[in-house]
Point group: C2
Chain length 282, copies 2
C-alpha cells in the first residue's frame, strides 16, 4: 500500500492505513477459506516520521491482528528517502482445502457477501460515516471464508470491483457467467446518497475496494450454504450463476455494456502488456 | 530495497537491482543455515516503467533464483505514484536446526567468510570491477550456511558492517567478544586501492553490505569446521572469540575506539528510539 496511490493522509489517518494494509491481505486469506496464521510487514517511512507516527500505524494494525488472531513474525523498517509511506505485507493462512478462483463450474450459483459500492461511496465528498468506514476500515470476511470453504467451489475477494473480479474468477475457471444487476446488494447509505443514487450500480460494479467475497456454490450445496450463513449471521446474496462463454451483466433482459472496469494501476501508465509479460517472466 | 536509499540507477542497472533485492534476502537464509524454498516479491514501479524495465529487473532476479533453487510463489505489482522503484521480498527457507544470532557462548571462536570491505570499496570512484561487483551483485553464502549449521552455534550475515553486526550477535547471545582487526580478511583489490588503503580497516569494519557470514563455532568443533570449509572451497578466517562483557576491536594490543558504526537508516532522520519502540510495539 503506497501513499498517493492507495491512500492519502489526510483523509486517511495512520491508524486507518495500518488497519487497511493488513485488512486487504486478510481478505485474500478469507477468499481462500484460510485461517490466518502469520504475517510479516515491511514499512518504508518518509523523513517526517517519528515515534508517534509509527505507533499510530502500529495501533491500527495490531487491533485488527488481535481480532483476526494472526501473529506478526517479523519484518523490516527502512527510510523511503524522498518517497512517501509504503507498507508491504505478506500474510499466510492455513486451509485443509483452499478455495481457489479456478474451481468454478458451469451451473454454480454466484453469491456475494455484504453490500457493494460503499467503499467507493466513502471517497465521495460528505459521504456518510458508514461509507467512509467501509473505505478506510474494511473488514475481511474471514468467518464467512471458513464457512464457505465447506460449500463453495471457487471464490475471490472484491478488491477491484465486482465486474473486474468476477472476470478474474470466470477466466480462471474457464467459464462465463450471468450476473443480474438488480440483485446486487446495496446499502441504505448507497441508495440514500443523493449524488450517488444514479451512480449506485456503477459503484457496486466498478467501485472497487469492498473486500466482500464472491463465491461459486454448486446448486446441490446452495440450501445448506444459505442455512449455514443465516445461522452464522453472515449476509450473502445470490446474484447470478456461472455458464456460457462470456461474463454478462443483465439489467432485466438488457445486457449492460460495461467499459473496462475496476482499478488498474497501469492503465495509461505502463503498457498493460508490460505487466502481464513481467508476471509471466518472473 | 528503495531507490535513492538502497540503490541509485545509475550506477545500478535494473538487472543489478533485481539480483541484489533477492540476494540480501537469501543472505539472511544463509545466516540461518537454511535451504531456500520460496519467495514472494512486491514491486512498486515509477510511471516511467515499461515492459523493458520490468524484464530487466526480472532477468537479474530470476538468474539468481534459479541458481539458489528458490521458487517465486507470487507477489504484487503496483504503481509507486510519484515515488521511485521499490522492491519488497519475503523469502522462506527450511532448516532442521536453524542458526540464530542468539546461540553464541563464551569461548566460541568467531569466523568470517570471504573478504570484508569490498562492497564499500565498490561505491568509490573508479573502483575495480571486482569491488563494483561485490557492491551490486552480492553472492549469498548459502552453501557455507548449510555447512556451518552442522558446526556453528550462532551466525549473522554482514549487512550493516562487521562492527555493527557483531554487536547484534553479541547482544542477542548475551556475551561480549574480542575481534583482532589485523586478522580481518581483506582482498587484494582493497589492499591495492590507492585511495582506500588507509580506509581499508574502516571499510572492513563499517563499510557494510558485504553479505559475508559471521559464525560462532565452539572450540571443540573448530578443526572439523575448518576442514569442512577447506573441502568445500569455502574461505573462512578466524578473527576472534566470544567472551567478556563488551565487544572490543583490538589492533595489536591497542583497543580501537569505533564511532557508532555501520548503516543506520534512521540516524539523523527518525529518532532512533522511535524505530526501536515501533519494533517493540508491533
Amino acid at each position: 500500500m503506497v501513499q498517493g496511490v492507495h491512500f492519502r493522509t489526510p483523509p486517511f489517518t495512520l491508524e486507518d492505513v495500518g488497519h487497511k494494509a493488513l485488512a486487504v491481505n486478510l481478505s485474500d486469506l478469507a477468499a481462500m477459506g484460510a485461517a490466518p496464521r502469520w504475517f510479516v510487514c515491511a514499512v518504508a517511512m518518509p523523513r517526517s516520521f517519528g515515534a508517534r507516527e509509527v505507533q499510530r500505524l502500529a495501533r491500527g494494525m495490531s487491533a485488527l491482528a488481535r481480532r483476526a488472531r494472526i501473529a506478526l513474525l517479523g519484518g523490516n523498517f527502512s527510510s523511503s528517502g524522498d518517497g512517501g509511506l509504503s507498507i508491504t505485507i505478506t500474510a499466510a493462512g492455513e486451509a485443509a482445502r483452499p478455495l481457489l478462483r479456478s474451481g468454478g463450474e458451469r451451473g454454480d450459483l454466484l453469491y456475494v457477501s455484504g453490500t457493494l459500492g460503499d467503499a467507493r461511496l466513502g471517497l465521495a465528498p460528505r459521504a456518510l460515516p458508514s461509507a467512509v468506514r467501509r473505505q478506510r476500515r474494511p473488514e475481511p470476511r474471514l468467518r464467512l471464508g471458513l464457512l464457505a470453504a465447506r460449500h463453495a467451489r471457487a471464490a475471490i475477494d472484491l478488491s477491484d470491483g465486482l465486474a473486474q473480479d468476477a472476470g478474474h474468477l470466470c477466466r480462471a475457471s474457464g467459464v462465463g457467467a450471468e450476473i443480474e444487476v438488480d440483485r446486487l446488494p446495496l446499502s441504505a447509505a448507497l441508495l440514500g446518497a443523493r449524488r450517488a443514487r444514479k451512480a449506485a450500480a456503477a459503484f457496486a460494479l466498478q467501485g472497487g475496494e469492498d473486500y466482500e467475497l464472491l463465491l461459486a456454490v454448486p446448486p446441490a450445496r446452495a440450501a445448506a450454504f444459505e442455512r449455514a450463513c443465516a445461522r452464522a449471521g453472515e449476509r450473502v446474496t445470490r446474484i447470478g450463476r456461472l455458464g456460457g462463454r462470456r461474463l454478462r451483466f443483465l439489467q432485466g433482459s438488457r445486457l449492460l455494456d460495461l467499459p473496462p472496469p475496476g482499478f488498474d494501476h497501469f492503465r495509461g501508465k505502463v503498457n498493460p502488456r508490460a505487466a502481464e509479460q513481467a508476471r509471466q517472466r518472473i
